[in-house]
Amino acid sequence: MKQPLRIGAGSAWWGDRVEPAILSAEQGDLDYLCFETMAEATISAAQVRSRRDPTFPGYDTYLDDRLRGVLPGCLRRGTKIISNQGWINPNGAAERIVHWLRHFGAKGVKVAAVNGSLITDRVLELTDTILENGKPTSTLTPSLVSAEVYLGAEPIVAALKQGAQIVVTGRVADPSIFMAPMMYEFGWDALDHTRLGAGNGLGHLMECGAQVTGGYFSDPGFKDVPEPWNFGFPIAEVMPDGSAVLTKVAGTGGAVNLMTVKEQLLYEVHDPANYITPDVVVDFTTTHLEQVGPDRVRVSNIGGKPRTPTLKVSIGCTEGFIGEDMFFYAGPGALRRAQLAKKILEERFKIVKLDAEEIRIDFLGLNAIHGAMSPQNQPEPYEIAVRVAARTRTREEAIKVGREVDGMAVSGVGHTGKRVPHQDRTREIIGVWSSLVPRDRIRPSIQFFES
């Protein structure tokens, strides 16, 4: 195996940009391109959608855009692809990828689908306790939508060993998607916690894409990056010992420096000495970072501890609805009009007997983002949006929020600015709970497809 191994990030979430992934496929000289496309509630939302919409295929809705974009470059270079775009239908995603391979004239390319993370029908026999509140998982029975285990890198490695050039999965822990190629290419053992700690740590740095190359970072005058409209996605040049240089395609905007890497290192981490993944427990506290060139940061000495005997299960449940809307005031006295509007809505909600678990009426421009902690003695802004939201058990109740905001058009306060309500102003809540399942009760399976 030539060194180093070049791994690129192709997406950090479902809605991520596609062009930087294409650029990395074309110019990144990548051995692997890895896609992360899920948030906590993605699987549950997909389950709800597939029940209502039989035409929804159950995988990443941008799968076509992404694959159509990167396949030409990947096929030319021989770049393998690892992706969790399978959502609730990895087999369907694999078949669709085969379609695109044939479209580009690639014959005999092996695509693997990793299944086995969905355990909705078994979750109550496999799990006991909800981690967040200590109650039995059986209390979730009436509202259960979906339960999925976070798989690790091992099934992806197994697929690569059997000749897959593209691996598409359901729920896999984000860092594992990026570490699987390291395990396969360097022959790391699944119990080698030192190397897996380093590899999973690198995966964690890569999984949020541009967040390590200058995205979610700029603060003018304090920390600026060049061309923040033109970020490159990260590329890791990984060595067999699990150290790496993080970089990006030359000529792209953004930056890879000690600040961007440190921010991403601790992103969504709780105890930095014990970051639990399906493969290993990562210790970030020993990490050594060094700027070794422009947009090149060497990452070494990320630690690892033996993996836990359990895997995390994410359980999605329907929990009611949110109704929300907004309207606007501007000019001298904007605040006093917004305050009267708030009072009117509070009274209206009593009159229409809005049955809500929680109601929130904020002034965007004053307190809608940071809430109660916002400073009280601020100068009055020139413009204020009144933003109202309520959480309800039924959609009928949630609809009342938008309907009462409608009333503010001709029956409200002077100088009220309002949108025409084209969009649906209600949404269903899918609450996400966690539990643990014994590792040995989960058996991932792999299915192969060929172009």
Binding site: G221, K223, E263, L266, H270, H370, G371, I429
Partner: protein, 118 residues
């Protein structure tokens, strides 16, 4: 002199359920002791009073000159249930930039954001 945290450190928030983690990273290793001494978990929670219910845990990562605050009860019951417009709390990390610390006057020329120093 009293300065806002933004002159000493940069921050980022991440979400998990009803918990937000907010990392506070010193711009220079020399600035780190001031953060470590003065930005305690209790003061952090007090700064977010009304918005974060707590508890708040503080983890120290000396090797990176960084503190990691784990703020429980920060996301209105959880990302999907929250009625906050910023339900992921992505902007929460900006609030702590206004936290005031006492530093020696001699540090002034090395502080970030000279253009907005008092």
């Amino acid at each position: 002199m009293k300065v806002k945290l933004q002159h000493l450190a940069h921050t980022r928030s991440g979400d998990k359920g009803n918990t937000s983690n907010i990392s506070v990273i010193a711009y220079e290793p020399d600035f780190y002791p001031y953060l470590k001494d003065q930005l305690t978990a209790d003061r952090f929670l007090a700064h977010y009073a009304g918005t974060v219910t707590g508890p708040v845990l503080r983890y120290e990562v000396d090797g990176l000159a960084a503190l990691n605050f784990v703020a429980h009860g920060a996301l209105g019951g959880g990302v999907s249930r929250s009625l906050c417009l910023d339900n992921y709390g992505k902007s929460l990390s900006a609030a702590i930039l206004g936290f005031e610390l006492e530093v020696p006057d001699a540090l002034r020329p090395r502080l970030r954001g000279q253009h907005v120093l008092p």
